[in-house]
Amino acid sequence: MALSFACALGHAPGIVAWREAAPAEQRERLYQAFGELRARLEAARLEALVLFTAEHWANFFLDHISPYCIGRAQEFSGPIEPWLKIDQAAVPGAPDLAEAILTACQEHDIEPAFSYELRLDHGTMVPLHFLTPAMQLPIVPIVINTLAPPLPTPRRCFLLGQAVGEVVRRDARRIGVIATGGMSHDPGERNHGVIDESFDRQFLDAMKDADAQRLKNYTVPQLHAAGAGAVELLNWIALGGALGGARGEVLAYEPVVPWATGIAAMAFNVVSAS
């Protein structure tokens, strides 16, 4: 039962940096859901946390982009954004777990890149701020390319997740796996501020039902149609692969216009699935 916790949640910088901009009711419903996720994470007494996450030109540029990059550092620092209103922190890594994931990926015919020096931006720091505010839990960030086409397909991200799930299940430690980002949003692009609530809710249904076929059958253009940032749902699809059929529960979903993003918080019933 080493997969001891799983959740998915948004990482929009506004959640922390522009708190007051959002309608109070939406904000409180989301904060309450994040609080519930934190309570469940703490109850699971985790020893490490794997994140399927995104970055926003923080580490990688077009001189070198990989579909997936696994962080195997002893320690990660962030956030890189001085305006994020999250204190600078050093977050411990779990290099041995990162190595086990890399090895398992090779066995699954997936060859991720790796890095000993990933800087964390809001994509990882906003979720950690709510889930592990002391920043003490060792992490393995897995950065999926959500910036520069061609992006990995949902099918491949699901496979990546399956490889990660296998490692986590056979590890003796109590490990959590989370996905960050999404849902519909188009940051810096023409449809900035447009939220596709119906797309978001359909995607949440697929995650809730652990519907592997629906998750794998999404295409990158379908995700992209809900906004350039909606491709971050590749992280969620990877999580779907890691979950091994565990069903989920939507603790909150709010289309928050001032934060220009559809934001959800989901928990997954990993214990009964194991």
Binding site: D63, E189, A228
Partner: protein, 84 residues
């Protein structure tokens, strides 16, 4: 097509304090350091967000670049939507 060089110039201005200072001092001088087409160089020097966007600069590079110059979100969106 030198959209790569154009995006690299903008990313450098966003992230490298020395490049940023160079751009603020002389946009043309900074632009000359990159292998840009005439249209790209012109758009970069004039901070013509509509053209930079149309040329293919990624929104998560272009919006931070505009913030360096205190462009409001509304003005930025008007520009890239061609309503400027």
């Amino acid at each position: 097509m030198s959209i790569y060089a154009l995006q690299k110039a903008i990313r450098d201005v966003n992230r490298d304090p020395a490049k940023r200072a160079a751009f603020f001092e002389s946009p043309a001088g900074l632009a000359a350091q990159y292998a840009l087409s005439e249209a790209e160089r012109d758009a970069l020097q004039r901070r013509d967000y509509a053209t930079l966007y149309a040329l293919g600069v990624h929104g998560l590079l272009l919006r931070p670049f505009s913030i360096l110059h205190s462009v409001s979100e509304a003005d930025y969106l008007r520009a890239i939507r061609g309503q400027g």
